[in-house]
């Protein structure tokens, strides 16, 4: 009980902090913010005429609560297509499969925290029906870290890797 409460409160602060950050970077005046501590939900609405890029409107973090109590769990945790903070670029899973940090078990990872990567450079690999699909950085930057643990399943659009983007894009 106590643990749950703490977890809930922590989630609330985290969500509020997140909303605050989002408001700071919002391109137009927000019309509505909704926060739900049960299942940790946040929603931002902009008036129709002042709508920002469609990707930014709508749910920032959405975990659909199942009607029978428990939230629908997506494999590997956070929902897909989460928004990056301004100083972070997220590399999203281009397909559904298992994410690996290294070319084979025991081998050195493709990249590690602090590494500089170029656009097109392989940073991981996804296994899809026994086929290994290289995952490449879609822009240059410094690796902040992998967001999906080695060998875990990832759904489409799930953030795999965080980068601090380089300005000279």
């Amino acid at each position: 009980m106590t643990e749950e409460r703490t977890a809930a409160d922590t989630s609330i602060s985290a969500v509020c902090d997140g909303i605050g950050r989002l408001l700071e970077v919002s391109p137009a005046s927000v019309r509505r913010v909704r926060l739900n501590a049960n299942g940790v939900e946040a929603e931002l609405d902009w008036s129709a005429d002042a709508a920002p890029a469609p990707a930014a409107a709508g749910a920032a973090v959405a975990t659909g609560p199942a009607s029978d109590g428990g939230p629908a769990r997506t494999p590997g945790g956070a929902g897909p297509a989460a928004e990056a903070e301004p100083d972070r670029h997220l590399l999203l899973a281009p397909l559904v499969g298992t994410y690996y940090h290294a070319p084979e078990p025991g081998a050195a990872p493709f990249v590690a925290e602090g590494d500089t990567v170029q656009a097109g450079q392989q940073v991981g690999v996804m296994e899809v029906m026994k086929m290994m699909v290289p995952i490449e950085a879609d822009q240059a930057g410094t690796v902040i870290g992998h967001l999906v643990p080695d060998g875990e399943p990832a759904e489409f659009g799930r953030p795999l890797l965080a980068l601090a983007p380089h300005d000279d894009r």
């Binding site: 749910a59 959405a62 659909g64 609560p65 199942a66 009607s67 029978d68 428990g70 629908a72 769990r73 997506t74 494999p75 590997g76 929902g79 897909p80 297509a81 397909l95 559904v96 499969g97 298992t98 899809v128 029906m129 086929m131 399943p153 759904e155 489409f156 659009g157 799930r158």
Partner: protein
């Protein structure tokens, strides 16, 4: 029995399958595209996996679905209808990955998926066929020879088609060669298989299908027939059971024929055997649909049998628990498809936000729908919003209830139109009312429009 069933579909049928799985105490996994994360099936799922960007293609992505099933620890996949439900390769990949495909075996699906080969096979088994080509045709020359022999009008059909897709009617010998070429090349594009065959076209026929249910232990039963003669462009709009005006002896003969054919080919689970019934009440086999049909609820309403439950039980290897007696229905059930389409503009889809979505309810009315007030109908998929199904002790009462239910059905949204007004016109039509309608009814009802 399975632990978790992944539903490899979307829209109303995904929710329909989920309802039964939940009621059977099974866990369900949903798949969704990035534009469908608010889908009802996602909310009701124990697990939900995003499988790709918007569009039907994502739901056809076999590797994504298999990986999703693995991530969700699903031990069975229900394909719904459409999409991958009749793709033998998908069933085979499921099996190779240790996942039960809820449907007939890949070999049977493969065999029955080739409509020309099925014709040949079933002809050999003694099924009543329309006059036509004994096998797929190689050339327009060959097709013309067959057509000339059986007489016009004829239909040119894609061997890999089905469910009304890849069909062209040819009324005179002069048009045959061009129609052959068109169907052939369209089939190559649509199905990656250009083979076609020729069959007599029966003017003013009725489209009647038989629902069969088989287990893997050699037992099979007919769950009665459905009349699906109200169509536009070979797509069904209204379906009912029993078929009005069809004498029971013919109906029973069709049922027996369908079960016999199903058992002869080793069919498992639920399947639909489609027939054409001509004005002399003679029936002719056309094709098999190796899946649940959109219109399966009318059979459920008259028999009290949950077809999805039977599919799941059959796929789990359970022996059929129904006798022919239990399978015989009572009363009349009619379904109509409420689509987000504008019948006055050639049935163009009208996606958009549903500011109001109030389906009917009350006695003897069933609605299968994934929509809700505030739901946005995406432009990327088919336009089926809801199936409205009614039951009545007789056809007259069923029709009255259907009209009342449709009158009650409120759907509003910017730019959104529905088939409700057209459906109400059709069920008020004296020919439909009398049960004397044929597949040409819709064309007659919207006279002068491009159909």
């Amino acid at each position: 029995m399975f632990d978790t069933v992944l539903i490899a579909n979307r829209g109303e049928i995904a929710l329909r399958v989920q309802r039964t799985c939940r009621a059977m105490g099974l866990r369900t996994a949903a798949v969704y595209t990035t534009d469908e994360r608010d889908a009802a099936v996602v909310h009701g799922a124990d697990r939900a996996v995003c499988i790709g960007p918007p569009g039907t293609r994502s739901y056809l992505d076999i590797p994504a679905l298999i990986e999703a099933a693995k991530a969700a620890e699903a031990d069975a996949i229900h394909p719904g209808y459409g999409l991958l439900s009749e793709v033998p390769d998908f069933a085979e990949v499921c099996a190779a990955n240790g996942i039960t495909f809820i449907g007939p075996s890949p070999a049977v699906m493969d065999k029955l998926g080739d409509k020309a080969a099925t014709r040949t096979l079933f002809g050999d088994l003694g099924a009543p066929l329309l006059p036509g080509s004994p096998r797929a045709l190689e050339s327009a020359f060959e097709a013309k020879a067959v057509a000339d022999a059986i007489g016009y009008p004829v239909m040119i059909k894609a061997a890999a088609g089905g469910g009304g897709r890849g069909i062209q009617i040819v009324r005179t010998a002069d048009d045959l060669v061009q129609a052959f070429q068109e169907t052939h090349s369209r089939a190559r594009t649509l199905f990656n298989d250009g083979r076609v065959y020729v069959e007599r076209y029966v003017e003013g026929a009725r489209h009647i299908e038989v629902q069969v249910l088989c287990d893997r232990h050699g037992n099979g039963v007919s769950l009665g027939e459905r009349d699906c003669s109200v169509q536009r462009r070979h797509q069904k709009l209204i379906e009912e059971t029993p078929a009005p005006g069809l004498d029971r002896a013919t109906a029973e003969a069709m049922g027996a024929s369908a079960v016999e054919l199903a058992l002869a080919v080793g069919y498992e689970g639920v399947g639909t055997f489609e027939f054409i019934v001509d004005s002399a009440n003679e029936f002719h086999f056309i094709e098999v649909n190796c899946r649940l049909q959109v219109e399966h609820p009318v059979t459920e309403m008259t028999t009290g049998i949950d077809l999805v439950r039977e599919q799941v039980l059959a796929a789990a290897g359970e022996p059929l628990s129904l006798s022919g007696d239990q399978a015989s229905g009572s009363g009349v059930s009619i379904e109509c498809r409420v689509n987000a389409e504008d019948p006055e503009r050639g049935f163009v889809p009208t996606p958009g936000e549903l500011r109001v979505f109030q389906p009917p309810g009350g006695p003897f009315v069933r609605v299968d729908s994934h929509c809700y007030t505030g739901y946005t109908v995406p432009p990327s998929y088919d336009s089926l919003l809801a199936k409205t199904v009614v039951w009545g002790p007789d056809r007259e009462q069923a029709l009255q209830r259907l009209d009342t239910a449709l009158a009650e059905f409120a759907v509003e949204g910017p730019g959104v139109r529905t088939t409700v007004p057209l459906l109400r016109r059709v069920i008020a039509d004296p020919r439909f009312r009398a049960g004397r309608h044929t597949t040409s009814l819709i064309g007659d009802v919207i006279d002068g429009l491009d159909l």
